[in-house]
């Protein structure tokens, strides 16, 4: 695989990570923020799998990414349930709109 080395994959991981962080920082829609989280997790996953191929991390990296995928699914399930609950109570999903807790 000429020309493609670990750094190239890490670059993709970094782009995913940065996009995720920016997404989390700017989106006010709660589900939008969660999508940012998914991007960040995927950035880490790309790193893990790339490391598993190119460094002595070996299969540990792939194992880790498998667990991350599963844990992300669990987290999304709870987050969605909470978001629906929030929507039922507030009729909005805007994170900033919830303003009863402040101080």
């Amino acid at each position: 695989m000429a020309g493609v080395d670990l750094t190239a994959y890490l670059l993709v991981g970094a782009v995913l990570f940065v996009c995720g962080i920016v997404c989390m920082a700017t989106k006010r829609n709660g589900i939008g923020v969660l999508m940012g989280v998914e991007l960040v997790l995927n950035g880490a996953n790309v790193n893990f799998v790339a490391f598993s191929r190119y460094t002595s991390l070996g299969l540990d990296g792939q194992m880790m990414s498998l667990f991350v995928i599963v844990l992300a699914a669990a987290e999304a399930a709870i987050a969605l349930a909470i978001a629906l609950n929030f929507y039922n109570n507030h009729q909005t999903i805007d994170v900033d709109r919830g303003s009863e807790l402040q101080g």
């Binding site: 993709v12 782009v15 790309v46 190119y54 070996g58």
Partner: protein, 300 residues
């Protein structure tokens, strides 16, 4: 060549999807771009010959988690097409934050010479003069190998490490299981300190090594295995290795070493089982939150 082309294709898809998620103003479109980004990442996993992870990504992430997210969007959309307006100020702020992160990552992760790191972990970050000379004057050494050796290593400039307590540096190298077990012409732990500091050779930080060069150097010092420790099958087929790794057997490492150090080779049976308990708890919690409160019979 094909690999490179496919890599750039998938990388472009992934990055474009990720950027589009950020730029997009409509939540459902964000979800679509997220699918594109994650699908591209799955392609990258296949490229990295992690086919099981790639398929899992498709099945659970793209086919499950994202569908769940879209589901959530649809259930919570107040208007027909929910738009999130970002003010220009916020946009600039976000761009600034993003740029800052990119710069940080550029100055750290992306500038590392990973191949030199692998050599260092294999105990080849600093080699004794003896070992270096032996490698350099090996019979039948090709011209390119010689140039590589000369460029990759430089005489150790720092003299102060001789003052460092000697027994400490030994275990640090010997700790590395790969390095410790190869008794080839590798530098023995004591070597570094048995010679005067100036006569040791260390990796030249100015010369970035490619993967092939790192492997070649390791081979010249008789530690090929340590650097190419990850013997992932080139064509994927990771299901059996992964299954074995679950029990703590590591086909990507030397099988004979596994048993002797069973305690230090992590198997993933426990996380696998405990995650199932976690999923059960999470499902019960999510079901509780999502259903309407049951009213007691007496109350009505």
């Amino acid at each position: 060549m094909n690999g490179a082309a496919l890599f750039w294709f998938f990388a472009a898809v992934t990055c474009a999807g990720a950027v589009a998620v950020v730029v997009s103003q409509n939540v459902v479109r964000m979800a679509v771009w997220l699918i594109v980004a994650l699908g591209g990442a799955a392609g990258l996993f296949f490229q990295l010959s992690a086919d099981f992870v790639g398929a899992t990504q498709l099945l659970i992430y793209v086919g499950g988690t994202i569908v769940l997210l879209i589901f959530g969007v649809m259930l919570t959309a107040s208007g027909p097409y929910l738009r999130i307006k970002t003010s220009p100020g916020e946009g600039f702020l976000a761009a600034g934050v993003g740029l800052l992160f990119v710069l940080v990552l550029m100055s750290t992760v992306l500038t590392i010479d990973w191949n030199a790191g692998r050599l260092k972990l294999a105990g080849l970050g600093k080699v004794s003069a003896d070992a270096y000379e032996t490698a350099l004057h090996k019979e039948g050494l090709s011209e390119s190998d010689r140039t590589l050796l000369e460029q990759a290593y430089q005489p150790s400039a720092k003299a102060d490490h001789a003052a460092e307590p000697a027994p400490k540096s030994g275990p640090a190298v010997a700790e590395n299981p790969e390095a410790a077990d190869s008794h080839g012409s590798a530098p023995k732990p004591g070597d570094v300190h048995s010679v005067p500091a100036a006569l040791a050779y260390e990796l030249n930080p100015g010369r970035r090594l490619t993967s092939a060069e790192a492997a070649r150097l390791a081979a010249l010092f008789g530690q090929e295995k340590a650097v190419v420790a990850s013997a992932m099958p080139a064509q994927g087929d990771t299901i059996r290795p992964l299954g074995l790794a679950l029990a703590g057997l590591r086909p990507d490492r030397d099988l004979n070493k596994v048993h002797a150090k069973a305690a230090t080779t992590p198997g993933y049976l426990l996380p696998f089982e405990i995650v199932s308990v976690h999923l059960l708890v999470v499902l019960i919690g999510a079901a509780y939150l999502a259903r309407t409160k049951r009213r007691r019979v007496e109350a009505s």
